[in-house]
């Protein structure tokens, strides 16, 4: 009766009855579209749009400024749009890095076994035991806080669950008959790994990577809140910290980036859940 923790944690965030889930997930995934639009807008936004305006300091939400302005008179909606590319970049990079690393490590450990498996398995254990937030924190602190750097580090820290999953898949799949016959007809080892085994093992890794992206957005916001994001670009966590430091009288300037983080995380969890359902052949038929 032990439930799969990961399933409960990440899937079905919206509803229990399976009929409504795809609709709820579609709604969640639409948040991702919104964030993507914001990121495109933020990428092409001229710097003057978020220039300080000393005639409109700390203004509560109004028609002109739907999310109010911060202590320098900058429109919060525009600032949040300005911060969208960084968070989306982190989400995408972490998904790719953790997926590639996890598959490479897990496939090598599962296929080759012996000392390769021992070394990789210990490394996986290590990353599954240490607190990821602190590993990322100390690494980013010592190696530099550019957005790309931190995404790489978060990607490394979060690749362990993927690697463990892929390893387990490879351990069982390499015993199967189709692998033996592939070997018999003279397929090379890389061909067997990539074209025979991997297609059967890649789906859970993709789902896990999307979930990693959601976790990464939260970790990255936490780093920004502690002052460890790239100082040259707008970042939601840093925005919250900055406005928070200016006192609580402008709660709206914290609201906007907070909602943005939430939408991105919810969107990614919904995407992961829907992918999981799509890949789950047993449930589909």
């Amino acid at each position: 009766m032990r439930a799969d923790i990961r399933m409960v944690r990440f899937t079905a965030l919206f509803s229990s009855s399976s009929v409504r889930v795809p609709a709820a997930n579609a709604f969640g995934i639409s948040f991702l579209g919104l964030i993507a639009l914001m990121a495109i807008g933020g990428h092409f936004m001229p710097e003057s749009a978020v220039a300080p305006d000393y005639s409109a300091l700390q203004q509560p939400p109004s028609l002109a400024h739907p999310f109010g302005t911060d202590s320098l008179g900058r429109d919060m909606l525009l600032r949040v749009i300005d911060g969208a590319p960084a968070s989306l970049l982190v989400a995408v990079t972490v998904a790719i890095v953790s997926c590639v690393l996890g598959i490479a490590g897990g496939a090598a450990a599962g296929y080759f076994g012996k000392w390769v498996d021992i070394v990789i398995s210990r490394t996986i254990d290590y990353f599954l035991t240490i607190p990821p937030f602190f590993f990322v924190l100390v690494s980013v602190f010592l190696l530099g806080a550019s957005t790309f750097h931190s995404s790489l580090i978060i990607g490394i820290a979060l690749s362990a669950p993927t690697a463990r999953q892929v390893r387990a898949q490879f351990l069982t799949l390499r015993q199967r008959e189709f692998v033996a016959s592939a070997r018999l007809i003279g397929m090379s080892t890389p061909a067997i790994i990539f074209f025979e085994i991997l297609p059967n093992a890649i789906q859970p890794a993709i789902v896990q990577s999307v979930m990693n992206a959601a976790a990464a957005v939260l970790i990255h916001a936490g780093l920004g809140f502690l002052g460890l994001s790239d100082p040259n670009i707008a970042e939601w966590g840093a925005m919250i910290a900055e406005n928070f430091a200016h006192g609580l009288f402008g709660w709206w300037s914290i609201l906007a980036p907070g909602i943005a983080v939430m939408l991105l995380v919810l969107g990614l969890t919904a995407l992961g859940d829907q992918l999981n359902r799509y890949f789950d052949v047993a449930r589909r038929y």
Binding site: A12, S16, V138, P161, G222, V261, V265
Partner: protein, 338 residues
């Protein structure tokens, strides 16, 4: 008699195995610190002596710290130093890092324990509510609120609590921790009053996962045939929900606690920064502001070590609760999620 002693030996061997695993992990933690410091830390002499130091001073410093030796030797020196609790001097506090951390740690542990106890209470309570009023707006509310809370970084909930308390309960002290060094009952009372805000914030922020677990597990149990049979044989609904369904939900909750152990400190630290609670979180914040590398590295080492000990303790606890879980095997279940 024989079987009992054999069983005991099995448990002892498993425990020894876990300790050995912990040793390997500890070694890897030191290796991480060593690699990171060497790749990105720069020359510590610049940090400690300042830019105006002469080359003789720098050479003397290198010799004193063992930085003129080979890399493997340096690694062994670092291993010895960290294992004996010598994390160097904090630049911010001008005191040994270990001393500074030990001084701040009790307040963090206090916040962590209170916060997570509240998180479990709130989460399990919300889960029971949702299961009791299954298929009603209450269940939907539990689901939606826990999803929203889950998608938030800890500090958002903290800020909301901060705003609510300062607006509606202005007499409740919420920033800082009073003056715990003062001692005596008044100081204790003061600290406890200050604790309410951050502990409730941490409790709400981390309750989402427990609410989902409890709800999910209880609904699964409630819809099973033996419960339907129970209901048909005339057992009261209250007894069914609280005795049968809740007991089944309890084991995965303990497992969840084991997984959450890795996120204990992260949650506490972000909450501390929001409420200026003077624990390890504030320490990290100061360390980042002042580029205090020994302090940050020391905090990482202590937090990693404590996390390992706590995860061992929760593993033992789940093994005691559920005999099907064996101690050795649990290493592989801790931390499926990120």
């Amino acid at each position: 008699m024989f079987s009992r002693s054999k069983k005991f030996r099995g448990a002892a061997a498993q425990f020894a195995n876990r300790l050995l695993q912990m040793g390997v992990l500890l070694f890897l933690v030191v290796l991480t610190v060593f690699t990171l410091v060497h790749v990105g830390g720069g020359d510590p002499a610049n940090v400690y002596l300042g830019m105006s130091a002469s080359s003789e001073q720098i050479a003397a410093f290198h010799q004193q710290m063992g930085l003129d030796r080979s890399l493997p030797e340096q690694f062994l020196i670092l291993l010895g130093r960290l294992l004996s609790g010598d994390f160097g001097m904090s630049l911010t506090y001008q005191a040994p890092v270990a001393e500074v951390i030990l001084q701040k740690l009790p307040l963090t542990l206090l916040l962590m324990m209170t916060g997570y106890t509240l998180a479990i209470a709130i989460g399990v309570g919300a889960g029971i509510l949702g299961a009791w009023w299954q298929d009603t707006p209450v269940e939907t509310a539990v689901r939606v609120i826990s999803a929203l809370v889950y998608a938030q970084p800890e500090f958002i909930v903290g800020i909301v609590i901060l705003v609510v308390v300062t607006t509606f309960i202005p007499w409740l002290p919420i920033v800082g921790a009073g003056n715990p060094q003062g001692g005596g009952w008044d100081a204790l009372r003061e600290t406890m009053l200050h604790l309410i805000g951050p502990a409730v914030a941490l409790g709400i922020a981390r309750s989402a996962i427990f609410a989902r677990m409890t709800l999910e597990m209880m609904l699964t149990t409630l819809n099973q045939e033996y419960i339907v049979t129970h209901r048909a044989s005339g057992f009261g609904a209250r007894r069914i929900v609280f005795v049968y369904a809740l007991r089944n939900a309890l084991v995965p909750i303990v497992t969840t606690i084991g997984i959450e152990v890795r996120f204990l400190f992260a949650g506490a630290v972000l909450t501390e920064v929001t409420f200026s609670w003077p624990g390890v979180g504030r320490l990290i914040f100061d360390g980042i502001l002042n580029r205090d590398a020994p302090l940050i590295v020391g905090v990482f080492f202590v937090v990693a070590l404590l996390t390992m000990v706590l995860s061992l303790l929760t593993d033992i606890m789940s093994a005691m609760l559920d005999p099907r879980i064996r101690l050795g095997a649990l290493a592989n279940t801790s931390g499926g999620a990120s």
